[in-house]
């Protein structure tokens, strides 16, 4: 039987990623909606900024699509990672990073994430990976 302290601690771990959405939406779908909102795991709604959506559409071109929000994984010790070819292409363009055409992941440092979050405030989100943090 778990104690109160254990239950409290487990709850804290569970709440660490409550800001993630239940379901990702595509950029095309978000742009077609009047109110580009999504429902998060804690039941709240999160609005995507239309300016950011237009910026992403401009960078990506009309023929390609993207799943939103772009997830930035926190790997611990100030290292962040974004995976997925389209995501990597967008992040590299925004931050002006050089990348090889085959790479499907990009590692980011703390100042880069600050710059990125300044530009893509609502269309990116940071995930805490406890297993990575605890290592």
């Amino acid at each position: 039987m778990s104690s109160t302290l254990e239950r409290l601690l487990e709850e804290e771990l569970r709440l660490a990623n409550k800001h993630l959405p239940y379901r990702k939406i595509s950029l095309r779908e978000a742009l077609s909606r009047e109110r580009p909102e999504m429902i998060l795991r804690d039941g709240s709604r999160h609005m995507l900024d239309r300016k950011e959506l237009n910026l992403l559409r401009g960078l990506l071109g009309d023929d390609r699509d993207l799943e939103l929000p772009i997830i930035i994984y926190y790997l611990g010790r100030g290292v962040y990672m974004v995976s997925g070819r389209e995501n990597v292409a967008i992040i590299s363009k925004i931050l002006g990073k050089e990348r090889s055409s085959e790479s499907d992941r990009v590692y980011l440092s703390r100042p880069e994430v600050i710059d990125l979050r300044m530009i893509l405030r609502t269309t990116t989100t940071i995930v805490f990976a406890p297993q990575a943090v605890g290592e």
Binding site: A16, H19, E37, Y74, I114, M118, T122, F128, P130
Partner: protein, 230 residues
């Protein structure tokens, strides 16, 4: 010190200094009593592992929230600079127009000839819910009709920047509050929960060691007595 406190203190001293009976409990300096059993030791060790993990996660969350705060401060600075520039331009234009049209322009805006559009929604930044109120010009046809299209566009831009600044500064306040809350949790784990668990584990382990030593001494004594009998 009241009589009640004195009595409690005496009981505590008696408990700590007195020998611990087998099957009794070990008193720690702060916190509840713990029974010196193997199950309790395993439970405490599991809790310690969990508490350390939560502390690590919360510390990392604190770092990420601080990053977010830095981003929002940087953004608020830029938006405020932009707002001041737009405000200067719009004010100059307004003064010029007022000198030309008289006070009719201001009263027309006050009467609601130029309706405002207000949108309310929530943004969730790393679990921090930020309520947003976006104000804009719903329809500025009335201003366009009298040839004030440029002024209407300036006003729309100004309101947009103002909404952005309110959002950014509100986000700073709410993220700060979340940082304080998280820091308190980290400190509670770091300075209270984890040391208390470690202390309890140490006390139970010491109690086990003591029992083992007692058992060894008893066995030696029995062996000696048996040797004497032979």
């Amino acid at each position: 010190m009241s009589q009640k406190d004195l009595q409690r203190y005496q009981e505590d001293v008696k408990f700590i200094s007195g020998p611990c009976e087998k099957g009794g409990s070990v008193e720690v300096s702060i916190g509840p009593q713990v029974r010196p059993t193997k199950t309790e030791l395993l439970r405490l060790k599991r809790e310690l592992r969990l508490a350390t993990k939560v502390k690590d996660v919360l510390s990392e969350r604190l770092l990420v929230l601080t990053n977010e705060l830095m981003a929002r401060i940087k953004e608020a600075k830029l938006v405020r600079r932009k707002l001041y520039q737009e405000l200067r331009g719009a004010c100059l234009k307004y003064l010029f127009l007022r000198s030309y049209y008289g006070s009719g322009l201001a009263s027309a805006i006050k009467r609601g000839v130029v309706p405002l559009e207000i949108d309310e929604y929530v943004e969730n930044l790393l679990g921090v819910k930020i309520p947003i109120l976006k104000v804009g010009l719903e329809d500025y046809a009335a201003l366009e009709r009298v040839g004030l299209e440029d002024y209407a566009k300036d006003l729309a831009r100004l309101l947009d920047s103002l909404s952005e600044l309110i959002r950014a500064e509100n986000a700073i306040k709410l993220i700060m509050a979340e940082i304080w809350k998280t820091r308190r949790k980290v400190n509670a784990l770091d300075y209270v929960v984890i040391p208390r668990l470690k202390s309890n584990i140490k006390k139970i382990s010491m109690k086990f060691d003591e029992r083992e030593r007692e058992e060894k001494a008893r066995l030696k004594q029995v062996k000696a007595m048996l040797g004497e009998e032979r």
